[in-house]
Amino acid sequence: MSLTRFLRRKHWDDERAREIEAHLAIETDENIARGMDPDEARHAARRKLGNATLVREEIFHMNTFIVDAFWRDLKYGARLLWLNPGFAIVATLSLALGIGANTAIFQLLDAVQFRTLPVKSPQELVEVRLPERTPRTGSFTGRRVMLTNPTWEQIRANQQAFSGIFAWNVWTFDLSSGGESRLTQGLWVSGEFFNVLGVSAMLGRVLTPQDDIRGCASPGVVLSYPFWQREYGGDGSVVGRTIRLDGHPFEIVGVAPASFFGVEMGRTFDVAVPICAEPLVEPTRNAIDTRHHWWLDVIGRLRPGWTIERARAHLAAISPGIFQATLPPIYTVEDAKSYLAYRLTAYPAGTGVTNLRDQYERPLWILLSVAGLVLLIACANIANLMLARASAREREIAVRLAIGASRGRVVRQLTVESLLIAAIGAGLGALLARSLSRFLVAFISTDADRLFFDLAADWRVMAFTCALAVATTIVFGLAPAMRATRDGTAAAMKAGGRGMTNARFGLRRTLVAAQVALSLVLIVGALLFVRTLRNLATLDPGFRQEGVLVANFDVRNARVPPARQVAFDRELRERLAGLPGIETAASVYIVPTSGSAWNDRVVVQGVVQKTLTFDNRVSPGFFKMLGIPLVAGRDFDERDTTAGPMVAIVNESFAGKILDTKEPIGRTFQILVGPGEPNPTYQVVGVVKDTKYDDLHTPVGPIVYFPMAQETDPPAFLRSISVLLGSSLPPADLTAQVLAAAREVNPSMLVSFRTLDQTIHDSLLRERLMATLSGFFGALAALLATIGLYGVMSYMVARRRNEIGIRMALGADRADVVRMIMRDATVLLGAGLAAGAVLSLAASRTAATLLFGVKPGDPATLAIAAVGLGVVALLASYVPAARASHLEPTIALREE
């Protein structure tokens, strides 16, 4: 049997028909020759042949693939769906929703976790850095900071494991030269960046090692494709033009290809600038030579034949020499000891590097499981529907079995029907997933931290969707099909089987109980996440959140000499405070809950304290403006200048944990600095209440505040002045005035704005994601389970009509009937809730790290969820029960 035969079956069949006709003709002739008359001759010939049609059919069948049967089943299934639009819509929509949600979340997970970089041989790339959670001392800028520049140069000179190696990090460059900032995402890259990744320019050229020579005066930069389209409209003559970044001119040497977004998943870049240009943009910092400034990440391509383990061993071997040569001179003895003990290691970087994984990996997996459970519940509903339909089609199936269809054949046909529903559901779901995943990405992006994902479906997502479709078919299609063909044909042929025992709907009841259990798990999860969000959102950070505008002034190009910076800050502040609509203005180094941090070790009476203390530098009026109560002593004022003694204000935690006293006013402490310099001493002049420092999740710790006016050496890592402006007016009204004032003070300053409450809001992004999605899914699950319960109860009531009729005829009243049905429902519900309670205890343990202020096994949450679901479900069961009790006994009995 071959393909050609299959396609030309009709033709073959015609030939056969002719052949058989010819055969009959010959036989007839012979019979006539033997003496029969023509009619008898023909009859005899045909008798001898047997059933001609059967012969033709047999041959036709031999020419047929199994696909033919499949195609016929498909057509039949499609017709059935067309004739039952209600069922078809409900089934395909629930599947579409379930499959779509799962695919969307998986797509995001895939983009964050599994997708490889669009560069040459990504599996050869490894990230070279210190192991996770290695404590380091110094200053840090950037998003994924692992190494210092001297360390990087040492690695580049001494490594042998990599055929190419480069360093990079992210930076925000300002495109404007004065007035309001126009920030753009930049990448610091070393010269080998593009070569090692195997990326060539789409226009012009990419950076080479020649572009990254120490002390470069006029380096070239490479634009990204989206930036080029946005800023230059895709103008082909952009190569050679100048672009000003942070006020400095750079030459555009090329444009990167459209698919290249850097090495960070979920992020993109606008300009790539060689590392040697860093001193041009940050002249006061000297990041190139500072041994304690951590700002680079290093990625290398393994040499052919080298494994990552071998590279690790090699890196560990060259580490001592590297760290010896780059020991920062300002380190204390302790810090130096740990520094010299550092060992570099390597991690696979084929899927890019990103901090998103730490943040979102667990939440995404949990959301995927949640979505999976919802899909299961939806499938259970569809399975119940199909069981109901199969019962209705009992006779049809019995007839088929009776006239010779094998059981396998009928099961196959029923399965194809399910497959059709699953395929339509999956198709719709895939479409839905596109919008859903876009929504998800938009949800987890904030203005401060834009995320970009290439959400085009890759093979993994396709395979996932198809696997889901097949799995759901098996779950809701196969079992009912097997069950429908199990009964003997005779029993099924008898109409309206009476007195069905409970065992008959064992499967359906189990399904519903399972649905209830799973719904409980999801509702408990949703409640836990919602409570977590509420706990965090209502948490008092210790300071005022509303009506605080944060204005950032980038003063690098304002050419304010460091000695004048303090006075400059005061002038600016006073000018802004005088603006109409602004009640108070205060400057601060670290804006609370902004994610930035500055910490030190404190020395009390010669003893170095183990607990880290966090620092901040503020102007007078800061505490008053943010509503932080002063519990003892005084705020900073004019007395605190560089001429007088160094003072500090501390929070209650500091007084308790570090100074271990209730009377800290007047006490002194020192800040630990490196060898060669004496530790400065500070006197405590005031105590304030505890506040959150950089993040709402971290518990409060010791904080020490220094006065702005006593700054002697503005730290190089803070390039800007932040002024908090308290006002009751909406920020939009204020920004124009602030910009105008800034322009008057110094036109080269760059200003950017955000609000404090927005900052806090953004920091709760993950919790909001979990609460929103799990809440939505939990509600959906409860709805589906309730519908399922209602359906099964209605069905059972319908089946038991005779029984109810008899009972009523024998004297049962309405209440008895209702009680009987409800007892049934309660048992079902109870079993489901009990199972669900156990499951939710286990399941919520996996989410423990994502919770705040509530424990995984919280009994109150479990109780609320169980009671809520139970009440709703009981109501759903009451309706069919009440209907049953209104049956006329005579009508019920008459149904035979």
Binding site: R16, A22, H23, I26, L49, V55, E58, M62
Partner: protein, 117 residues
């Protein structure tokens, strides 16, 4: 096919044997379906009656396996008929099947009539 007056023999043996007889008949020269059926009946002295209805599927099967090939020609009484002929592969199969058949017959005989020592 069935022996006249006897129960038809069921099983694999039946189908394979019909194939063998058809191949052997065609070894003597091309023929069409009707002729093949009559040839088998005739040469077995009417012991083997071929069910014409099962002949054509058998011919189709053999043609599928390319042991025989077909062509349209004119029959004895000037009618168009489909003729079959043996292919080289078919000829090889004939030898193979014949020896297999003989082996089976020998085996059965050795049970029915054990060799006396």
């Amino acid at each position: 096919m069935s022996k006249r007056g006897n129960q038809p023999i069921h099983g694999e043996l039946l189908q394979g044997t019909l194939d063998l007889l058809v191949l052997k008949t065609l070894a003597l020269g091309p023929a069409h379906g009707h002729t093949i059926a009559h040839a088998i009946e005739h040469r077995s002295d009417e012991v083997l009656q071929v069910e014409h209805g099962s002949l054509y599927p058998a011919l189709h099967r053999l043609e599928d396996r390319r042991w025989i090939a077909s062509f349209w020609g004119t029959s004895e009484n000037n009618r168009r008929a489909r003729y079959y002929r043996l292919t080289p592969m078919g000829r090889k199969q004939l030898v193979h099947q014949t020896s297999r058949w003989e082996a089976i017959v020998r085996a059965i005989n050795s049970i029915l009539r054990p060799a006396t020592d």
